[in-house]
């Protein structure tokens, strides 16, 4: 295409405005809500009878509400928003049908709400990481398709032919989700398979969601942000490509726990894949190291901090998962809080922190209003310790719990009790994350409001500026 038809970055950013405002503001609201349920769930371990009369707060409902809102409410819409912007910016093209995408985003948020109400009413599907009842799942699938199709059209209309790694990651994530989600809806909720095949499908889905989808969507942002924030080129495209391939090849096999009633070959394959995830992890570590080394930018609680902490958490979580996939260790850590610990590190430490960086980077461009750096820093300095305080005690508590479980001379309750300390510290972490989420919500909403306020002001200014001339005429 000719250079003249290429829109300016400003035009591109403003074409993203409507969908991004919808996606990000909804995501921020769900994140806050998810923290509320997370805190409620962890209260059970302080005071088991706290929700004895209250079905909404009971652990078996608050916990799935937490994970549902965190993954479907916050993670996927923010990942989609960031991905959409990346496709538009990197392709030097305006977003196709922004209005339709924003309808898709509204539909998505409505689906999340319907799912939440379903879970609260006891209509949980009963599968971890796929808690939503089927009517909500169908809404989410439709909404995703609506957004993904126009994201893809945006991409195919691009003016810049050569591809940047972030585009591969985003495109693969757009392809991945509808496949795994529709398979799971069909085989678990519409034509349920029998017996343990259900568990197999559910675990396959969870592995692909947490270890592939989140990774693809998160790293798309990381690979864009690191060079931008440090003002250095990505080192190198080939390594990033290698990360891409290995995440696809190994990540998709993870998910089946070592201990399960499924045939042994399945968990063996899955564990081998979890160990192999060390390969993309090392490649990612080298990309980040080579790209940021010698950079003059100080991190100081700003965007670079978010992004680097995200990579660090990804590496720690992947390493922990790989260690726990060794049979001798899985014998201790399976069925404990250990796996939950590194999954929360992946969700909060890696994905959420990366998304915060990306959204704080993108939002000012789209809204035309800067976000006060102090509020960003404040967010980092509560969210970072929050993520660590939530995940690390859970990982350590899980090991203690596992050792007690394996010790036949210890009564069962000891195993639950040794993990309690981890939980109590974890609640503090969850509270810090919640404070961070509130700051995030404020930052997002203030950006959006100030954007419209600026527009309103200039409209008024225009009107008042014109009036005198009109009067004179």
């Amino acid at each position: 295409m000719t250079a003249t038809s290429t829109p300016s970055p400003k035009q591109i950013d403003s074409s993203c405005r409507l969908p991004l405002f919808t996606l990000f503001s909804g995501a921020a609201v769900w994140l806050v809500m998810s923290c509320v349920f997370g805190i409620a769930a962890s209260m059970t371990f302080h005071k088991p009878d706290i929700f004895a009369e209250c079905t909404v707060g009971t652990y078996g409902r608050a916990y799935p509400a937490w994970s549902h809102l965190l993954v479907y409410g916050f993670a996927i819409p923010s990942g989609l928003g960031v991905g959409l912007w990346l496709l538009a910016r990197l392709g030097r093209v305006e977003v196709a049908k922004p209005f339709v995408i924003s309808i898709g985003a509204k539909l998505w948020h409505a689906g999340v709400l319907v799912g939440l109400v379903g879970i609260m009413n006891g209509q949980t599907s009963g599968y971890e990481w796929f808690e939503l009842p089927r009517y909500a799942a169908v809404i989410l699938l439709l909404a995703f398709m609506l957004m993904a199709i126009w994201a893809f059209v945006t991409y195919s209309r691009r003016n810049e032919e050569s591809l940047y790694p972030s585009q591969w990651f985003t495109l693969a994530s757009l392809f991945w989700f509808p496949w795994i989600f529709s398979t799971t809806i069909l085989l678990l909720q519409f034509f349920p398979v029998r017996g343990v095949v259900q568990s197999s499908v559910a675990w396959w889905f969870a592995g692909n969601l947490l270890n592939v989808w989140l990774t693809l969507s998160g790293l798309a942002a990381t690979f864009y942000l690191l060079p931008k924030l440090t003002n250095r080129p990505l080192q190198s495209h080939y390594l990033a490509l290698f990360v891409f391939w290995t995440v696809l090849i190994f990540g998709t096999w993870t998910g089946i726990p070592m201990h399960s009633p499924l045939p042994a070959w399945m968990s063996t394959l899955s564990s081998a894949a979890a160990v192999m995830m060390i390969v993309p992890m090392l490649a990612l570590a080298s990309v980040v190291f080579l790209t940021t080394i010698g950079a003059k930018t100080a991190c100081g609680g700003g965007l670079l901090c978010f992004s680097k902490f995200g990579v660090l958490s990804f590496n720690l979580a992947t390493l922990a998962a790989a260690i726990a996939a060794c049979p001798a260790i899985a014998r201790i850590t399976d069925f404990t809080w250990f796996n939950h610990g590194h999954t929360t590190l992946r969700l909060y430490g890696f994905f959420a922190m990366t998304m915060f960086a990306a959204i704080y980077y993108i939002l000012p461009k789209v809204s035309g209003v800067e976000i006060c750096p102090r509020r960003i820093k404040g967010h980092f300095w509560v969210a970072m310790p929050g993520a660590l305080l939530l995940a690390v005690p859970m990982i350590i508590g899980g090991i203690k719990q596992g050792l007690k479980l394996a010790d036949m001379s210890a009564p069962f309750l000891d195993s639950t009790k040794v993990a309690m300390l981890g939980f109590r510290i974890g609640t503090l972490g969850e509270v810090l994350i919640a404070i961070g989420a509130l700051i995030f919500l404020a930052n997002v909403l203030l950006s959006i409001i100030s954007h419209y306020r600026v527009i309103a002001k200039s409209a008024i200014a225009d009107a008042t500026a014109k009036q005198p001339t009109e009067v004179r005429l």
Partner: protein, 290 residues
């Protein structure tokens, strides 16, 4: 990577491989499993839940018990005991036959004071040689296969759970976490419905330092009418209601307990043998009958 079709092709190939292995193959291998025969009794196993217990499975799912309780028993190995019942008419030939297979037990005490365990071997195949040798000379031996492992020592089951145990469950909830004990066999371990009801209402009333949340919302507190309800929980101490009141389980509570009592997966199967077989299941309909 120049063209986007490579990206989609890569994603397609990677995802379809794991899809085939973790969705398609299990469906072909296990998705059509039907009732099997227990070994050696040849009873049909498993039997689908009906009535209250089937409704209770829904209550269990809807309350998210799975986030704290697994329903699967692991096993690290088996202990195979060879028990000699009868040394035959010519004890010295029997002893010689045993000695040929296992020189360590070539002692005269081996064949006195029967029946008794004469050998412990690593697997069923290893016991076969001994069984053959002794039966050949007119003796009588039996082999006990006893699964081992920490779950089994905790009393959570007699054997590991296998795919067959779950064929009639929907939603299958093997669970991934054990904040509470495994429940795959809770019906044979804690078969008293009143215990279960009390435990759900106030876990601390049956286990002093329990940390399981209580499910008081599954019960109704009401004023005792002319006669106290026969269904009312018998509670003492802190959890007992104020005088003049009684605690009566709702339908949901009774369904849930019927389901818990139906949880039992210890029938000896070909792929997961246990001998001697566990005692037959107690009736799980005591709650239903109320």
């Amino acid at each position: 990577m120049k063209s986007s079709s490579t990206i989609f092709l890569a994603a397609f190939i990677a995802l379809s491989a794991s899809w085939a292995a973790f969705v398609l193959v299990p469906q072909i291998q296990l998705g059509r499993a039907d009732q099997a025969k227990t070994v050696p009794a040849e009873d049909k196993y498993p039997v689908a839940r009906a009535g209250l217990a089937a409704q209770g499975a829904e209550v269990y799912r809807s309350l998210g018990c799975v986030y704290c309780h697994s329903q699967q028993v692991g096993q690290q190995g088996v202990k195979v005991e060879v028990v000699l019942f009868d040394a035959g008419t010519n004890t010295s030939t029997t002893l010689a036959a045993i000695a040929k297979v296992n020189p360590e037990i070539n002692k005269p005490e081996t064949i006195t004071g029967l029946p008794k365990e004469i050998a412990r071997v690593a697997d069923i195949a290893a016991s076969d040689a001994l069984v053959k040798a002794v039966t050949a000379v007119g003796g009588k031996v039996e082999v006990n296969v006893i699964p081992t492992g920490s779950d089994i020592s905790r009393g959570w089951g007699k054997r590991r759970t296998v795919a067959q145990d779950y064929i009639y469950d929907s939603v299958v909830q093997p669970g991934t976490r054990r904040a509470g004990p495994d429940l795959a066999n809770v019906g044979s371990r804690l078969a008293d419905p009143n215990w279960q009801l009390n435990h759900l209402y106030a876990p601390k009333s049956v286990l002093k330092d329990s940390v399981m949340p209580s499910y008081r919302f599954l019960f109704e507190k009401r004023k005792i009418g002319k006669v106290a309800s026969a269904e009312a929980l018998k509670l003492t101490g802190d959890s007992a209601p104020a005088a003049g009141f009684e605690i009566v389980p709702t339908d949901k509570a009774r369904q849930l307990v019927a389901y818990l009592l139906s949880l039992r997966s210890d029938a000896p199967l070909f792929e997961s043998p246990v001998t001697p077989p566990p005692a037959p299941a107690p009736s799980t309909n005591t709650v239903a009958a109320k």
